[in-house]
Amino acid sequence: MNFLAQTSSTATTSGVTFPTLVLTAMVWSAVIFALVALLMPNQTQDQLRRMKSLGSTGAGAALFFAIWAVETQVSEAAAGTGGIPGGDLLEEHNWLSSFPITSSYHLDVDGMALSVILVVSVVFFCAALAAWRNQRHVKLLTVCLLTLETASLGILASYDWVLFLLFWTLAIAPVYVLARAFGHGHRARVATRYAATSLVSAGLLLLAAVLIAFQSGAHSFDMSTTPVSLPGDGEAVAFWLITAASLLAMAVVPLHGALLDLEEDSTGVLSAIFAAVLPSLGAYTLVHVAVGFFPGTSGSFSLFFAVLAVVTVVWGGLAALRTDDLRRLIGHVGTVFMGLVLLGVAGHTTIAITGIMFLLLARGLVIGVLMLLASLIQERTRRVHISQLGGLAWQAPFLSAFWLLATLAAAGVPLLAVFAGDFFILTGSFPAHRWASTVVLAGTLLASGVLVWTSQRIFLGASRDTFERVRDLGPLELTYLGILVGLIVLIGVVPGHFAEVFQNGAGYILFPGAA
């Protein structure tokens, strides 16, 4: 056990017990900074700068505690407890005991949550840095970003349905306000459509939670007891309610319209967050809750997930080939990744679920980088369409290099982050779904090919006069993109750092009794 693990555990000194608060600090630190920002003036340039500093510090604080939590679990992996809930990070306090269904303030993490927690906190921190250039609605942006971060991390750390639903629904309002304030095109319609979709998914999850609480006989909203056994059709109904809610959030075909429009019509920082974080939360819910609660039921419907994976990947790949909008193209690539997640669920093996964890971690970073770069390209060239771009490598070599690296990562090149996820998912799913795995692989290659082709169209070719004054990346941009790309390389080179945690987490999801 290393230093971090020791400090996070419940410590007893002279008979006084100090509770573990790492997860509480991770979840709530961002929103505390948001509350401070809410009360601060934002009239002068100095005040605006202070507001932005506050945003970055809040996101940084959340990142600090997220890394603390991840490293604590990694250090416990050798003992076989890392990646499994109930460890040193567990926080549980009674909350609602005077109602027929009890609820508690229960925070914990497993391997699945850790992979998404890491990517969420990193992407939000980089987004907060990227938002320094913004001069419009600074307070609104800061407050909403930090609130959204708390909601996202809260979803991932909640082990009680009431808390989980609270955070799930809490995420809707900031996304709506941000999309409406900073979007373009049909921003009001797009924001409303996404909010409606999210509220539907929240409603489905609420019904599932109530059903599980009563039919399981536990009369509790606690989420730590898995697998859940319900009488009659209750198990199937609850499973499909959670699955439908997750698929809506993941934006898989044919439910992808709302999120893709949101990503396309938002400005750079926001589209990076929307594309990198929001679908990951849906994927987490699908794997951690739907599969984790009902491993047997999910296994019996694996064909459904395999078919849906094929449809999503093929559709995503073809749509990416057809679109001329840079951000929408990246959105389609993100959809293809979600198809891979579905294939992993269909595979229903420990190795496939481990692959999903690697993929979600890598996907968030890669899509985040691509979206941020796309917005920088659009900001500098004032062009939205790929066909209007070309020869940018001459003016912006660093930008081109970062894009190319992210593209190669997205294509699943070894020694970059996505490779491990792709490899494990395909390996884990192939025995059960050979045809589906083959088609998904082909679809993934198609999407990768489109990305490489797009890189060629944007950056290569003769230098254009219209883009003569295009700037390359500045120090600020190099900083936040460097963090993201550095992590992509680091995870690709040393995936073993997380392998045990993820593997334990996958084992816990599929075989909770054994864990």
Partner: protein, 490 residues
């Protein structure tokens, strides 16, 4: 039933007596001494309400000492002082107190009628306290009549303006229909069972005949008028749209509180056979205003529809007031009692935001709301917290109420009612987000205005709005109190 005694009469009727006496005193002073400052009447009203609440707390001591474990009964068992009635009296007094403290916003419009306005708030609260303590049909009619007449009177206080006058008249007509429905219903029930005692009625409804079912349905419809359930919801929308914001907040919040209390007492104590009917009515009362809110043209109407939706949730929760799974009591009553506190405060906060906007000269339609956060930050905060509370958006306690209501309905075997409630809340939440979004993100070049709303009303409105967050954090103790109150009805 325990024999009536002095302690029981004191415990059950003291809050009501205090309120009626001080209402009469306030009205008399307003008539005989018109020169007294408005603040005198405000503080007299506040004193009456605090006194009534204190009396209820004194009764709590008596209830704790009672040997039957339920409470104290008086007047041949027609009224009781139990934990439920004490909780309800405290809720009603709190609602009345908010109405009194925010009356400054309507001072200009009410003019010399302000003392009468305060007196009517006290009599409406007194009527509510009768609804809280009654377990007999006669007292039910008395209490409901007192509440309804007082509320119509409050709306009519603004008779000098045309729209409130029309609203008062329409409220009167709706109230007449509601009272008639309830009287017919109770007459049928009495004819079928031969008793006016709710507990006795309950025992005889195990095999209800169609005629008895009609009686129950009419009674329930009459009671549902107060919480703005369809088909008698128009009066609430009319009041929300036409009256001044302070008056609308007073009338709507008092109606929801008193209506919720009456519904709990009547359905749980006596008419438990009406659960299917309550389910249908609750589902309709949730979905109908939610669908109407999609085309709402003003923020006042949106708030009015939100209040109707809260009424629908109250009725929906009641279907989960009987035995739940594992033969344990379902949590419907707890959900209602917790929810009523949250609903009342959200309604008040929303109407205080409207009052603030009106004082600042800001229009109440969607176009007028654009850029509200920049033009009138306090109004924007109040409005967004109030509307979010009505919509059940987290981190406000309305969200928790939705979970409790859905849980109770499912536990009671009415999953479809839970689905309707969740769907209605989602629809209303989307609409609310649209309005809040307009307030915060739309650029508006109009100049920033200086607030002129009376300080006390604003502070009270802000406190109401922030309570939504506090109630979420303190949900444990609040639910404990609600559970204690609900336990006597099981």
């Amino acid at each position: 039933m325990p024999a009536p005694n002095g302690m029981a009469v004191f415990a059950t009727m003291l809050p009501t007596t205090l309120l009626v006496v001080l209402a009469a005193l306030g009205g008399l002073l307003g008539w005989r001494r018109p020169g007294l400052p408005p603040s005198f009447h405000r503080w007299l009203g506040a004193l009456a309400l605090v006194g009534a609440a204190s009396a209820a707390l004194v009764a709590l001591r008596g209830v704790a000492l009672s040997t039957n474990g339920v409470g104290l009964a008086a007047y041949a068992g027609g009224v009781v002082a139990d934990r439920f009635s004490i909780y309800a009296v405290l809720l009603l007094c709190g609602t009345g107190l908010l109405a009194i403290l925010t009356s400054g916003a309507a001072e200009e419009r009410l003019g010399s009628r302000l003392p009468a306005y305060h007196a009517l708030i006290l009599t409406a609260t007194a009527g509510g306290t009768i609804l809280a303590v009654q377990v007999e049909m006669g007292m039910l009619v008395v209490g409901l009549g007192m509440v309804v007449i007082s509320l119509v009177g409050i709306v009519a206080m603004e008779k000098t303006a045309e729209a409130p006058g029309v609203a008062a008249f329409r409220s009167l007509v709706s109230a007449g229909i509601a009272l008639a429905l309830m009287l017919y219903g109770l007459a049928i029930v009495y004819g079928a069972t031969g008793s006016t005692d709710l507990a006795a009625v309950r025992g005889q409804f195990l095999h209800s005949a169609p005629l008895e079912g009609l009686g129950l349905a009419l009674t329930l419809l009459g009671l549902a008028y107060l919480v703005g359930a369809p088909p008698l919801h128009h009066w609430m929308l009319q009041v929300a749209s036409a009256s001044s914001a302070a008056v609308a907040g007073t009338v709507v919040s008092l109606a929801v509180a008193a209506g919720g209390i009456a519904l709990v007492r009547v359905t749980v104590s006596g008419f438990s056979a009406t659960m299917v009917l309550a389910g249908v009515l609750g589902a309709a009362a949730c979905l109908y205003p939610a669908l109407l809110s999609v085309v709402a043209g003003s923020v006042r109407r949106l708030i009015g529809l939100g209040a109707c939706l809260q009424g629908g949730l109250v009725i929906s929760a009641l279907v989960g007031s009987g035995r739940g799974s594992d033969l344990k009591p379902a949590g419907g009553v707890i959900a209602v009692l917790f929810g009523l506190v949250v609903f009342v405060l959200a309604i008040q906060a929303s109407f205080q935001a409207v009052a603030r906007m009106e004082e600042d000269g800001i229009g109440g339609d969607l176009a007028g709301l654009r850029g509200l956060a920049r033009r009138s930050p306090m109004a924007a905060v109040l409005l967004s917290l109030g509307l979010a509370g009505l919509a059940g958006l987290p981190p406000l306690a309305g969200f928790l109420v939705r979970i409790l209501v859905a849980s109770s309905a499912v536990d009671g075997g009415y999953a479809w009612v839970a689905v309707a409630g969740v769907a209605a809340s989602a629809i209303y939440a989307v609409v609310v987000l649209r309005w809040i979004g307009a307030a915060y993100v739309e650029d508006e070049e109009l100049p920033v205005v200086l607030p002129r709303t009376p300080r006390l009303a604003s502070v009270v409105g802000l406190a109401c709005a922030l309570f939504g967050v506090v109630a979420m954090l303190l949900a444990g103790p609040l639910l404990y109190a609600a559970d204690g109150a609900a336990s006597v009805l099981r």
